[in-house]
Assembly symmetry: C2
Homo-oligomer: 162 residues x 2
DNA sequence: TATTGTTATACTCTATAACTATA
DNA sequence: TATAGTTATAGAGTATAACAATA
């Protein structure tokens, strides 16, 4: 329960951010940090015709073991129908291709083309710079620990990619 | 640079999440964690006719020192025009009201009504449960440290709300 | 009967520009 | 002239339901 204002008149005095329950709220902090990171990422990727979402799909398509669209939707927490349009876009630009899975003809495996791999590699450098500008706010010796904890929240138990 | 597949055929064998550069990418982890947190938050708040965004505005409007719409837009990293519709919605439901700032008649201070404070307090309990389900994945003794680091990333330097 | 990808639709979120009233 | 709020618009992101092909 918040305190009530002591006067009838609305008060505003301090120009700096002051006490607010919201700024102690982990979900809010997570959302705000993500907003900062997303903006930096999209700016860094814009020159490559990518956004954070399409970059993520392209990156997964570069893996040696490529994923079906269904798997991409689970990994990225996007609806299968959203994957369709992201892949459509990347495919129309020759960065990825769809191949029917021989063992399940319903499924389509998304694989990066050589061009897609080149574009992703170049974009990754720019993305990494953008990231640095966001996470450099953390004490250097704490960064990797923070990332581990973030991983515990972000990824399901099974996914151990150390 | 990613490894290339060793065969011409697309390969897919492991059903569990396997190695992927993306899963080491802090920005991606942040985005995925936020997606989980946001979904849980929106579900928890749905019963109160709120979403994470409108809950944040309402919470700031409950502070003893209320903010102008301009300040809300900076705190929440939303465009001023987005604040307009969020406040319109809350105001139409009698949860907040706009008051012209006597010291600057251009500015409007957003203040929660008594009803708004009641709704927020009830919603906060539900939101807190949802949060717990997300952040309980962290070791208990590390949680507050994680939140501090998250805060370093999320909030500008000046905002010290300890 | 269940699942993969697809299409379609609607709603929320993000970003921009232009307008008004005040400063 | 600059700033706070507003309106309008377009594009990106989110969520749902229904359908064809395949399992």
């Amino acid at each position: 329960m918040d305190q009530q204002p002591t006067a009838d008149e609305p008060t505003r005095s301090r120009s700096t951010l002051d006490d607010a329950e919201l700024f102690e709220d982990p979900s809010f902090l997570l959302a705000r940090a993500n907003s900062i990171s997303l903006a930096a990422g999209n700016t860094a990727l814009a020159g490559f015709g990518l956004r954070v979402r399409s970059y993520a799909v392209l990156t997964l398509a570069c893996r040696p073991t490529c994923a079906t669209q269904r798997e991409l939707s689970e990994l990225l927490r996007l609806d299968p129908s959203q994957i369709v349009s992201l892949v459509d876009n990347l495919q129309s630009r020759g960065l990825v291709c769809r191949k029917t899975d021989p063992s399940d003809r319903r499924a389509k495996i998304v694989t990066a083309t050589d061009l897609g791999r080149e574009v992703r590699a170049a974009a990754a450098l720019s993305a990494r710079d953008a990231q640095a500008s966001v996470f450099d706010r953390l004490p250097a010796e704490e960064r990797s620990h923070f990332f581990e904890l973030l991983r515990d929240i972000a990824l399901p138990d099974g996914s151990d990619a150390h």
